[in-house]
């Protein structure tokens, strides 16, 4: 039995460096020609607790993690306790044997490899902090993976700490390989290097979105740290100076969105990264952007809530909130990327839409998409396709030619009023939060209200042409269609593949990355599907009700998940049997 789709899990306490070792091993596997998909599972704490990192690698591209674990690296007994049950027959558990393994944790068919990880690391490398490296050395060896890739990563990662640190890490890796030797013959799973593979990069959703936004000309970012949205703020804080982006960590989320609006009124392409709780504070600001017709992009990496909820975990329960946030009505776009490629694409598309319609655009990610990473070929991020469209922005020449008093909120057929950036002598005007006439003067007249509100809402018509249409995955006219949005896409795709592997034409999938305005093609596409099952990460079925509201179509069933953990193909398949 040799399998090349292998899941490795490393677990321990917060502070043990699990995320960085997981990322290091993932990078080594990727450079060895394997495709990887990794997901951190962390508690919201700095020390203690139980954290783990799941890393799946295979020869073929991966869209999700999977449930079965082939190799468990347990830096503490708690990891064995929680995850031994996930280890498949033939799998192995390398565990810290400082503490004795209780008999009830022994499972038949699983090889238990006791190692005094901390002690050996101290003896060989001089510090128990290297126990992860020791475990990874053992893992690489057991999986027949070329140690040289792991050694190179250690050299790169520790170069700035000096030769001594590099050498200790290399010694620890070698010791790991030696300790694993006796178990190699019986261990059946392999992650051998795959030669002649194209160069790949390892990216998470935070990075893919940030790269897209940067490529799209984002030049102003203001926000307040909130997991899991902080990643985008941090990314821009670290890259901003080099690429001409002002990135500010400000006093609170209200300042985050309003500072961005202030910059956007002047002409910046402004982005506000946050998570749902932070966005809750931004609701009034969103309304101000709506009535003042200011383009701004809001990025919400969802986590389960409400209030503090599960800070480091995932969910998809902010959809209707984002669509309806703020009092009264104004047009907005809500986008939800389902993959790294979409996160990149929507990252720049959002800015064009915001400028074209002078209104807020929201990008809904979640912890799963933001933090999980996947190997992709660089060409998957289509930089060549990026365009910068600033919409109806008056040029210097057009402003010079103005003879009448400029009307910032001119009533037009499309609802879009040609926009002057403040600073030109011919276009002196006020950006107005009260209802206003075209100039704008503050105006409460009923006819004027109808004219201005209708003008703003008319922009929604044009936006319907710019909202991404739902996309299909899998064979046409399948017996069952999974209907999903956002990050559920990856695991659902794999579920579809597995169903079709058993029975051709069993399943396909309709994925929504554009949700507001509701995509005009949705009804036609949905009517092509036979048995329609919604798969989404919330309690009430938000996409399902959105579909029903807009099309009158009632889906045939649903799979809903709100435990804070990402969908996995196995979970979808099991739930599908119950629908």
């Amino acid at each position: 039995m040799v399998q090349n789709d292998v899941t490795l899990r490393i677990g321990g306490e917060a502070g043990m460096g699990l995320e960085s070792s997981g990322a290091a091993f993932a990078k080594a596997l990727m450079r060895g020609g394997l495709q990887v998909f990794g997901v951190p599972d962390f508690y919201s704490r700095i020390r203690g607790g139980h954290n783990f990192f799941t890393l799946r690698a295979a020869r073929e591209p991966l869209q999700s993690i999977a449930d079965p674990v082939h190799l468990l690296l347990a830096l503490d007994m708690e990891t064995v306790r929680r995850h031994a049950g996930d280890v498949v027959e033939g799998g192995a558990i390398i565990y810290e044997s400082r503490e004795e393994l209780p008999d009830e944790l022994r499972r038949p068919g699983v090889t238990y490899i006791p190692v005094e990880l901390a002690q050996v690391s101290r003896d060989v490398g001089g510090d128990e902090i290297m126990r992860n490296t020791l475990a990874l050395g053992m893992a690489a060896s057991l999986l027949r993976f070329d140690l040289a890739y792991l050694e190179n990563i250690a050299r790169e990662n520790f170069a700035r700490k000096g030769d001594a640190v590099v050498d200790s890490n290399l010694r620890v890796i070698a010791e790991g390989a030696r300790l694993a030797e006796p178990y190699m013959t019986d261990y059946p799973f392999r992650l051998e290097t795959v030669p002649d593979q194209p160069e790949r990069i390892l990216l998470n959703g935070t990075q893919a979105f940030s790269l897209g936004a940067l490529a799209g000309g984002c030049n102003f970012v203001s926000g307040y740290p909130m997991t899991p949205g902080s990643g985008v703020l941090v990314w821009f804080a670290q890259h901003g100076a080099k690429y001409g982006v002002i990135a500010k960590h400000v006093e609170d989320e209200i300042a985050g969105i309003t500072m961005a609006i202030g910059a956007a009124v002047m002409g910046a392409r402004a982005l506000v990264p946050t998570s749902g709780g932070g966005y809750s504070l931004m609701v009034e600001g969103t309304g101000f952007a709506g009535i003042s017709e200011t383009p701004v992009v809001i990025y919400n990496a969802q986590r389960p809530g409400p209030a503090t909820g599960l800070p480091t975990r995932t969910g998809q329960a902010d959809l209707l909130f984002m669509i309806h946030a703020s009092q009264d009505e104004f047009p907005r776009m809500v986008l939800a990327p389902g993959s790294l490629e979409e996160a990149f694409h929507l990252g720049w598309h959002a800015f064009n839409v915001a400028d074209r319609y002078q209104t807020p655009v929201m990008v809904l990610s979640d912890q799963f998409l933001a933090d999980s990473f996947r190997s992709i070929e660089p060409s998957a991020l289509d930089f060549a396709a990026v365009v910068h469209d600033r919409g109806a922005l008056l040029t210097e020449a057009e402003l010079d030619a103005l003879t009448e008093r400029y009307k910032r909120y001119a009533v037009t057929e499309s609802g879009v009023s040609p926009r002057a950036l403040p600073g030109h002598p011919n276009a002196v005007y006020v950006t107005e939060s009260n209802e206003h006439d075209e100039y704008p003067r503050i105006e409460e007249d009923a006819q004027n209200r109808i004219a201005q509100q209708s003008k703003r809402m008319r922009k929604g018509e044009g936006m319907r042409g710019d909202v991404p249409a739902p996309t299909w995955y899998g064979p046409p006219a399948a017996a069952t269609t999974l209907v999903c949005w956002g990050s559920t896409y990856g695991p659902a795709c794999e579920a579809v593949d597995r169903l079709n592997a058993v029975e051709a034409g069993a399943a396909n999938l309709l994925h929504f990355s554009g949700l507001e305005p509701f995509p005009p093609t949705a009804e036609t596409e949905l009517r092509k599907a036979r048995r329609k099952i919604a798969v989404e990460g919330n309690y009430t079925g938000q996409l399902e009700s959105l579909i029903h509201t807009h099309t009158g179509i009632a889906l045939d069933g649903h799979i809903r998940k709100f435990d804070g953990r990402p969908f996995r193909p196995e979970g979808i398949l099991a739930a599908l049997e119950e629908v």
């Binding site: 009124v265 600073g423 002598p425 006020v430």
Partner: protein, 291 residues
């Protein structure tokens, strides 16, 4: 040459007859003219309240925003286009109530923004509730038994948080207010001008009669040193029979928030930079981080 006519607009304010805001509007316009600032070179960021409608009553760029939020909006505007002058105008409910947090944080950053506060010590537009600067015990519709809170001390607060220009004006002394706003506009950093704005409808006890007999000019005081921070802090809290006006504190500021921004160290304002597609070398460098 900039003239008062440049700022003229055919728009009648919604303010009561005798409102202190007329004087503030007048003084601000004249200060702009005296400083040679044209309407398109400045943007006035206001909050919500009677006074915050001010940019509607002159021909000028403005942002009439949200209650309590003019601060971050003004800072965003300044960062995006630091060639524009950014002036904030708002009331005490805005700046010292709903937006007090933004106020304190903004002062710490020394943004290149001038702030004028129409401090009438009452909520006017919502018809007379006590404000953050109302004196303790003030009886209003929402404090029938008298307000419990001590008033916010904005000038002392600004000095504490590192402001380098702190002043107080009064529209009853128009000439002095024009001069004071002019000095603030010349300050190469954040400048706060708190203005005692009589509200003739909802805060009659704090009308012109009250202030006329009490205000005095700090700059007329012999030996008053505007660079003495402790003295300024003490004067900032003087209230009662004598109420000081003028510049309480003025020292040379450090670099402003926008000047400290690495992206703005050289080159034109952010919004004057054309959007460029990433160069192939830039893309390669970015992706190399993940290889």
């Amino acid at each position: 040459m900039v003239t008062r006519d440049d700022y003229k607009i055919d728009e009648r304010p919604t303010w009561c007859s005798g409102c202190g805001n007329y004087g503030i509007l007048n003084a601000l316009t004249r200060a702009f003219v005296e400083q040679g600032i044209a309407p398109h070179e400045v943007i006035i960021v206001t909050g919500i309240g009677c006074g915050s409608k001010l940019p509607q009553y002159m021909r000028v760029n403005g942002m009439h925003t949200l209650h309590g939020r003019p601060w971050p909006i003004a800072q965003g505007a300044k960062l995006a286009n630091h060639a524009m002058r950014v002036v904030m105008v708002h009331g005490d409910g805005d700046g010292y109530g709903e937006g007090l947090g933004h106020f304190v944080h903004a002062v710490r950053r020394n943004p290149g923004v001038v702030e004028l506060v129409q401090n009438n010590k009452i909520y006017g537009l919502t018809k007379g509730q006590f404000s953050p600067t109302s004196e303790q015990g003030k009886r209003t519709s929402t404090s029938p038994a008298g307000s419990a809170e001590l008033p916010v001390e904005p000038l002392a607060l600004a000095i504490t948080q590192g402001a380098t220009f702190v002043g107080r004006g009064y529209p009853g002394d128009l000439k002095h207010l024009i001069w004071l706003i002019g000095e603030a506009l010349q300050h190469p950093g954040y400048a706060l001008v708190d203005i005692l704005q009589p509200c003739v409808t909802f805060n009659k006890p704090r009308s012109y009669d009250y202030y006329r007999d009490r205000v005095y000019r700090l700059q007329d005081e012999e030996g008053y040193d505007v660079t003495n921070r402790s003295a300024a802090w003490e004067r900032a809290q003087e209230w009662g029979d004598r109420i000081p006006l003028g510049i309480f504190y003025r020292v040379t500021p450090g670099p402003t928030f926008d000047a400290q921004e690495p992206v703005l160290k050289e080159g034109p304002p952010l919004v004057k930079r054309p959007l460029r597609k990433l160069e192939p070398e830039q893309i390669a460098a970015l992706l190399a981080e993940y290889g």
